[in-house]
């Protein structure tokens, strides 16, 4: 350490010095990175994803990243969990025991910001409340590849992909654009003028049968169709196209039938 400190240019900021040391160590040492896994009260989700990262499909060891079992051997700490009240002292001790320079990587939602427990009486709410963190890896749990990327970002092998986004509304009238399926309600002339209630019912039915994800997808398709047809007979005929597009799933046919019934009922009420 002392020799390294001499090698470095004089720097006013301690953090900067630390950064430089870290860079040189990993740049010049050219040896494997020893990693210690620290569980500070995690639910195990992140743990098994770290284990999965060791498995043949991801295989972190091909980068020379090796799990060790003692803080004294470690170069990097993979910390998971929200830091429970009881664990705080242990984490502080582990951090002190790990030789400098070290990298702390927070794995998972709990470690990055306390997760769902962030303001509970029994947790501290994230690793950075207790020790400094170098890299945050969000996810609940993170994908093994994301963990791998996190370690490589910490070593400056990979560049981070995410950055802060801010948006400010300048001209509210012009900037605002509705997205489908709601946009389709206002954009085109349709067979029946789709009222808000009908839209709501269609949406509800689709969700009830297919859930939020496939439901909205289907409603988008269905509204696109609705704006093309002119008569009810055409609607029935054309709705077969949707079923075709969804791999002829009998389930989709069932849901489309339900939606058709809704539209017909609505149409009958109007006339």
């Amino acid at each position: 350490m002392a020799i390294l400190a001499k090698m470095l240019p004089q720097s006013t900021s301690v953090e900067k010095l630390g950064e430089e040391v870290k860079r040189r160590i990993f740049g010049t040492l050219k040896r494997s990175l020893y990693v210690l896994r620290v569980d500070t009260g995690s639910c195990n989700g992140c743990e098994i994803e770290i284990f999965a990262a060791l498995s043949p499909l991801y295989d972190v060891e091909r980068f020379g990243i090796r799990l060790v079992i003692s803080p004294r051997h470690a170069d990097a700490l993979l910390v998971t969990g929200p830091v429970t009240r009881q664990y705080r002292a242990v984490l502080e001790r582990v951090y002190r025991m790990t030789p400098d320079p070290k990298v702390v990587i927070a794995i998972g939602a709990c470690a990055c910001g306390g997760g769902v427990w962030y303001n509970s009486f029994a947790v501290e709410g994230g690793i950075d409340q207790v020790i400094p963190v170098d890299v945050y890896v969000p996810g609940c749990p993170p994908h093994p590849v994301a963990i791998l990327q996190g370690i490589l970002v910490a070593l400056d092998v990979l560049k981070q992909k995410i950055e802060k986004v801010s948006y400010r509304e300048e001209k509210p009238e012009e900037e605002w654009k509705l997205r489908p399926p709601l946009a389709l309600l206002f954009e085109r002339e349709t067979l029946v003028k789709i009222s808000w209630e009908l839209y709501r019912d269609i949406m509800r039915t689709a969700r009830k049968y297919l859930g939020y994800l496939y439901g909205v997808q289907l409603v988008k398709d269905y509204f696109a169709l609705l704006s093309e047809v002119r008569t009810l007979g055409e609607l029935r005929e054309a709705s077969k196209k949707i079923v075709e597009a969804w791999n002829r799933d009998p389930r989709i046919a069932q849901v489309v039938e339900e939606l058709n019934k809704l539209v017909e009922k609505h149409f009958a009420q109007k006339h």
Binding site: G45, P141, L213, R251
Partner: protein
Amino acid sequence: MGGEAEARKLLEKCVERLKELLPPDAIVDVKVKGKDRVYIEVKREYLPEALEKVYWELGGYLSSMVGTDDRSVDGHYRLYYIVSIEENVRHIQWKPWVVVYTKVPWDNPKFKSTTPKVPAASWYEREVKDLLGLEPTGHPDPRRLALPDDWPEGLYPMRKDFKFYERPPRQPKPYMFRPEKVSEGIVQIPMSPIHALADEPSQFRLFVDGERVVDVDYRMFYVFRGLEKLAEERFTYNQTSFLAERVCGICGYAHSTAYCEAVEDALDIEVPERAEYIRTIMLEVERLHSHMLNLGIACHLTAFDWGFMELFRIREKIMKVAEILSGGRKTYGMNLVGGVRRDIPKDKAKKVMELLKTVREEFKKALDVITSNELFLRRCEEVGILPKKVARALSVVGPLVRGSGLPRDTRYDHPYAAYKYIRVKPAVESGCDVFSRLMVRAREVLDALDIVEHALDQLPGGPILNEEKIELVEYAKGIGYDEAPRGENVHFVVIGKDSRVHKWRVRAATYNNWPALPYMSRDYTITDFPLIVASLDPCYSCTERVIIVDVKRKKTVTVSYARLVHLSRKVSQNPTHTPQLL
């Protein structure tokens, strides 16, 4: 269904028998709910007798115990003892749940402990004492069970007047483990939170004589996150389903399902059949990955890393299945109260079927190689014996109990979700050792593959979510249960105001299994210990929504180093030697 009438009859019989057994003024109120559950209110002074009769005379297993703070409602605390009647009624499809409860007034928070009569209640009562401040009088072991070391005295976090975000000042107090110097010749080996063999934070103390483990002491509460409190005050009932999923990262979906079932039971919400099938599919997918993980870890601990790598490679396909079905590898996020959130379209089902086919083939081959490996067998066979008798007395659950020859399986005993339609035969092995438990898991992997394939094939039509007619009935109570990969999970819910739960109690499988650990590890070597722990497949974070400390006291004897070395050598050279220290 014919089973329902039978179940009702049995339930009535249970209530009548209990009325006969107890003094006439003991029972205050009896409420039958549905086909298989009954809530019986007893007077406070008769609580131990009532529980004793239900437990021993009616043949019940204590599934959970809950204390609620109802002071804001009627000035009382309530204690619920949830007992599942299973003895001698194996043939009945829906076995009864008997809930014995009593009121404890706010100004006199004491009750007669039931532990002397029903030992299984010990931890539950100590937990109630710590978190709610209800004193079990006559409890044989009234020491602190819950809460961190530095938690102030007299502050009870589960009471309603404690806010979830409060962080009381620390009052550091060193925790008294078992006395530093124990009996002659016994060496303590601490396995602290950071340890090679402990995957999760906890502290084990192994007491060894030579190489032989003579006793185990464990203490965990490093994972106490206060989640039940959060659910009561911060989460709405639909959000809590996602919180429940984070009770445990391995069997989280089982917790989420049990929670939703509890709320659905309380509010009489009918879950669409398709949703029940989808839940079943996801539960079995979870069982697949969890069992493969456990088998892989067992291989790893016996230094047979080929097995670990191969099983984890196969397991990745299961993770892919979960990804296709739910969009997440581990946290599925599929459950809402009233059904599921995501449907399974035909093309996805087809993809999954293809993956499962390769998984089945590869798993069978891998299993063949693993079980024909002499080294692996020698490490697993005849190690960590849990006799049938002990398993029954401790009422352990999951592969642990099935590995000891007892056919307990919630999927069979209390059919839930689609197990009403798909009957499961419990996989039972009678070896009582680590190998038997591993084989139970291996068989369940193959069974689970069958179930997923069958359920995907037989998926019924209709909606998947029923959230239109949900009406929150205040203080309605419900029980939810399912068979997680590690055994039976039981959730108890009392519905509260503002679409929040009034009380939510999670009882995870491992909670019942921990007491078996000392029985299993005694008389084996230190190297076997991690394997035995792994065969229990513990889930620390499940158990530690609350805290467990189990410390036995022993006489303090000073022992010289020379004497210690002498004893160690002597014992290690003579494996048949039994020291009189025990």
